[in-house]
């Protein structure tokens, strides 16, 4: 099949995480055979999001505004800052309904094996954010995997060195099963982990 637009589509789909050649073929055939409107809609959604979605200036999460809705919410407690790896982790914490403070989304975690070091995640923006004179507690809620623990350790050291006695640095309680990712943890466990933070 010397069909460049079909092969181009399959190649482009293969760049999605977790999608190999067989899955990409199946997706392309499905869209072209059964759901051309879905293909057009996905095309449009990708083009729109790639332009419209930016990072919140305060918490770094994805947003279409300069400041995201959560950071702009006056009802939230600006003295608490909860640090997560991803927007999915933030969404899981929100669904637990047990947190009313603000967030900081690292958009990653330390992973030396993948070449992701301190400068590749939002450590310096986090230090600046925590230094606003309002934040009195930073709650580290990175995952309890090896990379997440290392990230929490590095962040705790940097935050304590900068904040001194004025800043409390806590970590989610180890009610969260060791080795699991935050976004897959059940909600009541998340709530317990939050209230037992130390």
């Amino acid at each position: 099949m010397a069909e460049r637009s079909l092969e181009g589509l399959i190649d482009a789909l293969r760049r999605l995480p977790g999608v190999g050649l067989k899955s990409a073929q199946r997706m392309a055939y499905h869209l072209l055979q059964h759901d051309r409107e879905g293909a057009q809609r996905l095309s449009q959604a990708l083009a729109t999001a790639a332009v419209a979605v930016q990072h919140c200036e305060r918490c770094h999460t994805f947003t279409e505004s300069r400041i995201c809705a959560t950071c702009s919410d006056p009802a939230r407690d600006a003295r608490q800052l909860l640090v997560v790896e991803t927007p999915a982790d933030q969404a899981a914490m929100e669904r637990s309904g047990s947190y009313r403070g603000l967030y900081f989304v690292l958009m990653g975690r330390l992973s030396p094996l993948d070449g992701i070091g301190v400068d590749d995640i939002g450590v310096h923006p986090l230090l600046a954010r925590a230094d606003d004179g309002v934040v009195s507690e930073v709650i580290l809620a990175t995952g309890f995997s090896a990379e997440g623990e290392a990230t929490a350790h590095v962040l705790a050291q940097a935050l304590r060195a900068q904040g001194g006695a004025a800043l409390t640095v806590t970590r989610l309680a180890r009610g969260v099963p060791v080795g699991s990712e935050l976004e897959y943890v059940d909600l009541s466990t998340l709530a317990h982990a939050l209230s037992d933070r130390r």
Copy 2:
């Protein structure tokens, strides 16, 4: 997160086969965080393919021309027509390097439980195609699943009723896969391999 373009992207990704909410979120976050160029490229590939890719008038496979490259190839044996379910099956057969005839791609298979009947796959175009006065053998190469077998059965009946003695209708051999140990082959395959011995 009241972010419509991000949610729109996740919704559009969920329409892909085999993609649920978690996978769609992971794909969207990956594209926005690490591969915006990939997002733009996929958007473009989808838009291009949805317009450019049509069905070959002779074999029904995906093509950008009126007649696909395989059907236009004068070096192929026009007396043999091999019937497969999908372009992926056709590509697998091509990679085997053992077939030099032409193809017909059903773009599906009978699946009454999913509401896919005789008129939803290319039965009538296949009958017209096999009646061109050149084709002397139709090789049924639908899958060996229950649906694939039922499809082959229905097609064989229809082709034999139309073609009479002038048309030979054959089916890919059932048997033991090359490289496999007999003790791990399922029993009905063994029974077929025994009765079809040569």
